[in-house]
């Protein structure tokens, strides 16, 4: 909650034009947009919550459920598509048993489909917390996800 306040304090007397930037910052801090966040942002900008919610649901970037520790983005741009990104996506879905927009039960991974990540030369591309994995093949998915699973285990054992 205080995280939201810190963001809002950076925008005193803000007008509607700051709405998206504020939502982006809140999401950066909290990982998603909670109801409280949306209401508070609306209050701050004197905008009805319905408006804020309407704006937030319009854009791909905003999420309304808590994401996992590792945010997986599978690129579904044209170049990635012709190079088989659908199969990569299927493999991730199978491995994690979640659909895009969802988070695994253990809270480790969340899956997102992006329209184009802008790295078409490396297609098909999967990014995990911004780390790019180029020329992905479905059979590599498990291996790569396992390295992230290991990472959390390592950290826990430390």
């Amino acid at each position: 909650m205080s995280e939201i306040k810190t963001v809002l304090e950076k925008y005193p007397n803000a007008k509607r034009e700051s709405l998206i930037a504020i939502l982006q910052e809140v999401q950066d801090k909290e990982g998603y947009l909670s109801r409280e966040a949306i209401c508070q942002v609306g209050e701050h900008l004197k905008l009805p919550s319905a408006k804020v919610y309407g704006v937030a649901t319009f854009y791909n970037q905003f999420r309304f459920v808590k994401p996992g520790i590792f945010k997986i983005q599978v690129c579904r741009g044209t170049a990635c598509h012709v190079k088989g990104s659908l199969k990569v996506l299927e493999a991730v879905k199978n491995e994690l048993k979640i659909e895009p927009g969802q988070t695994t039960k253990d809270g480790l991974f969340s899956l997102e489909v992006v329209a184009c990540i802008g790295a078409c030369g490396l297609a098909p591309v999967m990014a995990v917390n911004g780390e790019f994995h180029a020329s992905m093949a479905p059979e590599n998915v498990k291996k790569i996800l396992n390295t992230y699973r290991e990472r959390t285990k390592d950290e826990q054992s430390k």
């Binding site: 109801r35 319905a50 408006k51 919610y53 309407g54």
Partner: protein, 573 residues
């Protein structure tokens, strides 16, 4: 002026006028689902497209200004094919339940489909499935029938300044919804129903009480009474093809008796009662340094609006219940005692031009010992539905008078139906209360008409009073902000939630255009000029009620039965 060529014919149009308007002036019917007269065009539905020579694509006439020499085809094969396809696409994502739909035979989409000769389902495929939101006592929202024209969103935002709903999501998943897609009951919706008035389909409708009322009428244990609001009698006729502004007050009374109502009362009676209380309250506040400006409290949408958006103004609201609730309260007290009926057996129905009244009668304060003052609220539309249900031809009925003790009214009470009417009635009575004499000219012209904001300065026996009349909460909001910023020259404000007042209420006949609303207003004014009793304090039945039961305005009994209180309201704002 410019000259344009429409379907080969030269036509004059005003410079910078939108094509749609120019074409309609020529008597050419251009279909549209998203256009609202007077608001900025959004160009969403694309049904008003026309062919303009020299342009590649088709042009939306609602959002395209005329220019000199423009050549337009309004019903070319290309245009018709496009319109037809657009409607076919809408139907592909629309339920097939016209027969059961509240808008059957009165639906923008259905009419269009018929006009364009669509007689089969052309595109099949997935449909968006949504839950129907029945959480609100006033408004039911069925997103399955929504065509996303956005008229509800715009009227809620631009006219009422509420924005309880907006577009949600994007692309083929786009829909209209509240914040977090929660029920309307927890949203900031003020239940005015202006969205219903603008909805071309059955996606928005009132929460109907017709079957409850019919069941009550069937129940021999129940003593079913009814009251009808001032604005209903001048609009009901339109539902049956009579000209707008026809007053069917007496005929309506006859019809209601035919339904089986034991008593038919007029809410205009309790409007007079309201004036006695409210004018006394105003005089009291002015004389004793009470909170000013005082603001009227007849319009339940407005009350909810203040409670959730401007709780700091709650002390400014008159504590008077609305006429509906005042009458409800005296029916189950005074009337019940007089007729020796158990109030629990009385089923009290009110007929209102309003859907917010359905919400108002459920407010916590609106009962005595757990017995609701008003049991069911019907809108003008629902009344028309019942008249059809009972097979009554209103054109063949003879008028009849309402019942005692709440059948007599002044024309001041009748004026409650139009924006400025409460103010006018209150001024007439306040003047009398302060001076002991009648106002020389009873008509207060400054507060008449359909303008959203009207203001006047009065001088009552040396006392300077500033008054303001606003309708449409967007206008009310502006005025409240002015007062917050320090404006001090107003002592009394009348606020009506719907623009123009109850004659344009959310429970009135659909497709009410400005012309019809103006005719209803004129009808109320003409009743006022011809009536014998023109002031609320001149209503003998009200006087008798005070003598026999209430005592005096603002007295203890009044306080208990006719006044209420308001509290800050938590909603998803």
């Amino acid at each position: 002026m410019v000259t344009i060529e429409v379907n080969g014919k030269k036509v004059k149009a005003a410079k910078d006028q939108m094509l749609l308007e120019a074409l309609r002036q020529e008597g050419i019917d251009i279909p549209t689902l998203c256009h609202i007269d007077g608001l900025t065009p959004t160009g969403a539905c694309r049904l008003c497209v026309v062919e303009v020579a020299g342009m590649n694509g088709l042009v939306p006439s609602c959002a395209y200004p005329v220019s000199d020499g423009m050549k337009i085809l309004t019903h070319s094969p290309r245009v018709m094919e496009a319109r037809k396809t657009i409607v076919e696409l809408l139907l592909a994502n629309h339920p097939d339940d016209c027969l059961f739909c509240v808008r059957n035979n009165n639906c923008g989409l259905q009419t269009l489909a018929a006009q364009l000769g669509i007689r089969e389902r052309v595109y099949r495929g997935g449909r968006n499935e949504h839950k129907i939101d029945t959480s609100s006592p006033s408004i039911i929202r069925d997103p399955n029938k929504c065509v996303l024209c956005g008229r509800c969103v715009r009227v809620c935002e631009e006219v009422q300044g509420v924005s309880a709903i907006d577009f949600v999501n994007r692309g083929s998943k786009a829909t209209v919804g509240t914040a977090f897609e929660q029920g309307m009951n927890v949203s900031s919706c003020i239940k005015c129903g202006q969205c219903i008035m603008k909805c071309p389909t059955g996606a928005l409708r009132e929460n109907s009480s017709v079957s409850d009322v019919i069941n009550a009428l069937k129940d021999p244990e129940k003593f079913v009474v009814v009251q009808h609001a001032p604005a209903v009698s001048v609009s009901l006729a339109e539902e049956f093809g009579l000209p707008a502004g026809t007053d069917v007050c007496g005929i309506m009374t006859t019809a209601l008796r035919l339904f089986g109502f034991k008593r038919v009362f007029e809410t205009s009676f309790s409007a007079d009662l309201t004036i006695m209380e409210e004018a006394s309250e105003l005089v009291h506040r002015i004389k004793n340094g009470g909170v000013l400006p005082m603001m009227t409290s007849c319009s339940p949408g407005w009350i909810k609006y203040v409670e959730q958006f401007y709780p700091e103004f709650i002390p400014n609201l008159s504590t008077c219940k609305s006429p509906q609730q005042m009458l409800g309260a005296v029916i189950k007290s005074f009337f019940a005692q007089r007729e020796n009926i158990d109030p629990a057996k009385i089923y009290s129905v009110s007929i209102m031009p309003c859907v917010a009244k359905k919400f108002e009668c459920e407010r916590p304060d609106m009962n005595q010992h757990g017995i609701a003052d008003v049991d069911a609220v019907l809108t003008t539309r629902e009344l028309a539905e019942m008249i059809r249900y009972f097979g009554i031809d209103i054109k063949k009925l003879a008028p009849d008078a309402a019942d005692t003790p709440f059948g007599m009214r002044s024309s001041a009470g009748k004026l409650f139906g139009v924006s400025g009417g409460v103010m006018e009635a209150a001024i007439r009575t306040a003047y009398f209360m302060i001076t002991g004499t009648e106002l020389a000219d009873l008509e207060v012209k400054d507060v008449r008409g359909l303008n959203g904001v009207k203001q006047a300065k009065l001088n009552i026996a040396g006392l300077e009073i500033g008054v303001a009349v606003v309708s449409g909460l967007g206008n009310a909001c502006k005025l409240l902000e002015e007062i917050k910023a320090g404006r001090k020259d107003i002592q009394f404000i009348e606020v009506m939630t719907c623009p123009g007042g109850c004659i344009a209420g959310g429970g009135q006949p659909l497709n009410s255009d400005l012309k019809a609303i103006r005719a209803r207003m004129k009808a109320l004014y003409s009743i006022d000029t011809t009536d014998s009793i023109r002031t609320s304090h001149g209503n003998k039945a009200v006087e008798r009620l005070y003598d026999e039961f209430l005592g005096k305005p603002l007295g203890e009994k009044s306080h208990h039965l006719l006044h209420t209180h308001y509290t800050k309201r938590q909603v998803i704002r």
